[in-house]
C-alpha cells in the first residue's frame, strides 16, 4: 500500500465523523416536540361547538370564513397559555380594525375556570369554542396547548405554530403571513 493511499484510509473515519457531526448539529437546531401538521393547506375540520361565553350559541367553521383568523388553542390549566395571553391581547388589538380575528378553541378545560381566566386577564378572542372533551381538538390534530393555526379567508389552514406566541414569533413569523393572506382577495 502506498503512503498516500494509507493517509487516505486514515482520512475516511475523519470524513465519516464530519458527516455525523453535520447531521447532529442539524438535529440541534430542530425541536422534536414540533411535529409538522398534515393539515396545512387543507380546509379546517368541520365543527359545531357551544361558544364559551354564550353556551346556547353554536359556533362552526363557517364563523371563520371571510376573514383571516388566528385560531388559538388554549386552556386555563396551561401555564404557557397564561404566558402568551398578554401577547394575544396585543395581537387582537391590532385586528380590531376588522382585518383579522383571533378565535379561541378552549381545549379540555372547565367552563368556570376558563371564564375566570378571561375575566382576570382579558379576552382577546372574538369567540372561543368550548371543547372540554377534545372532540374538535382531535380533528385539528391538537396534541398540546397552546397551538395557533393561521386560517385564510376561505377557511384553509396555512400555518400551525406550536407553543406560546410571543412578540418575536408574531413579528417574525405570524404577522407577515397574516399580512400576506390579508392582501389576497
Amino acid at each position: 500500500m502506498s503512503k498516500s493511499r494509507k493517509t487516505l484510509t486514515y482520512l475516511i473515519p475523519l470524513a465519516l465523523f464530519a458527516v455525523l457531526v453535520g447531521f447532529l448539529s442539524y438535529g440541534l437546531t430542530t425541536d422534536p416536540r414540533k411535529v409538522p401538521s398534515p393539515l396545512i393547506g387543507k380546509s379546517i375540520p368541520e365543527f359545531a361547538l357551544p361558544a364559551l361565553m354564550e353556551p346556547t350559541r353554536q359556533v362552526t367553521q363557517e364563523d371563520l370564513k371571510g376573514r383571516v383568523s388566528l385560531v388559538n388553542v388554549w386552556a386555563s390549566w396551561c401555564p404557557s397559555c397564561r404566558a402568551e395571553h398578554k401577547a394575544l391581547m396585543e395581537i387582537a388589538q391590532q385586528g380590531r380594525d376588522g382585518s383579522f380575528q383571533v378565535i379561541g378553541l378552549n381545549w379540555k378545560d372547565e367552563r368556570d375556570l376558563a371564564l375566570e381566566m378571561l375575566r382576570l386577564f382579558g379576552n382577546p378572542y372574538a369567540f372561543s369554542a368550548f371543547d372540554p372533551d377534545n372532540d374538535v381538538g382531535l380533528d385539528f390534530g391538537v396534541y398540546g396547548a397552546p397551538e395557533t393555526f393561521i386560517v385564510d379567508r376561505d377557511g384553509i389552514i396555512r400555518y400551525k405554530h406550536i407553543g406560546p406566541v410571543d412578540e418575536e414569533v408574531w413579528q417574525q413569523t405570524l404577522s407577515p403571513l397574516v399580512e400576506e393572506l390579508k392582501a389576497k382577495s
Binding site: M1, V35, P38, K108, D133, L138, D139, G141, Y143, G144
Partner: protein
C-alpha cells in the same frame, strides 16, 4: 451508606410493581366481544406514538391526550372500522409521526434503505480489506522479522522440533 442500599432497592421494586400495575389498569376498560378485534386494538395502540411523551406508545402513556386517542381508537374499532382506516384517521390528523413504523415513501426512503446501504458498503470494505491481506499478507515485515516468523511457524507445525 451500605445500610441504605436495601431500602433503595426495595423502593425501586415497589415503584416498578406499582407503575406496571397502573399501566395495565388503564387498558382494562377496553373490552371487545371479538378477541381478534381486541388483539388488533392492542397491537395498534402499541404501534402508535403518544405525541406528548414521544418515546411512549399510546398503550403505555398516561398523558391525557393518549387517553383521548385510546378512547377514539376504541370507539372507531367498536364501530367496525379496519386497522387501515383507523391508521388513516390518525395520520390525517397527527401526521406520519404518530406511527412508530414510518410508511415507505420518498421522504422516508433514507430511513428504510439507509441501514441496508451502510451494511452493503461495510461488507464491500471488509471483503476488500480481507482480500488484500490474503494477497499480500505481511507487507511491513523487515527481512529479520520475516525470518523469525518463518522459524516460529515451522515450530508450530511440528511441535517436536526444537529451535
Amino acid at each position: 451508606m451500605a445500610l441504605h442500599r436495601p431500602h433503595r432497592w426495595l423502593a425501586l421494586l415497589v415503584g416498578l410493581v406499582v407503575s406496571t400495575a397502573t399501566a395495565a389498569f388503564t387498558l382494562e376498560e377496553y373490552t371487545f366481544d371479538d378477541p381478534a378485534r381486541e388483539a388488533a386494538f392492542r397491537e395498534l395502540i402499541g404501534q402508535t406514538r403518544c405525541l406528548v411523551c414521544q418515546n411512549e406508545s399510546l398503550a403505555a402513556s398516561q398523558a391525557g391526550l393518549a387517553q383521548d386517542l385510546r378512547d377514539e381508537i376504541y370507539r372507531l374499532m367498536q364501530e367496525g372500522r379496519s386497522r387501515e382506516e383507523v391508521v388513516e384517521f390518525l395520520v390525517e390528523r397527527y401526521g406520519d409521526f404518530v406511527l412508530y413504523e414510518p410508511p415507505l415513501k420518498l421522504s422516508t426512503l433514507p430511513l428504510w434503505i439507509g441501514p441496508l446501504l451502510l451494511a452493503v458498503v461495510g461488507v464491500i470494505v471488509l471483503r476488500r480489506a480481507l482480500l488484500n491481506k490474503q494477497r499480500d499478507p505481511e507487507e511491513n515485515l523487515s527481512p529479520e522479522e520475516e525470518a523469525r516468523l518463518k522459524r516460529l511457524l515451522a515450530r508450530t507445525r511440528d511441535p517436536q522440533d526444537s529451535e
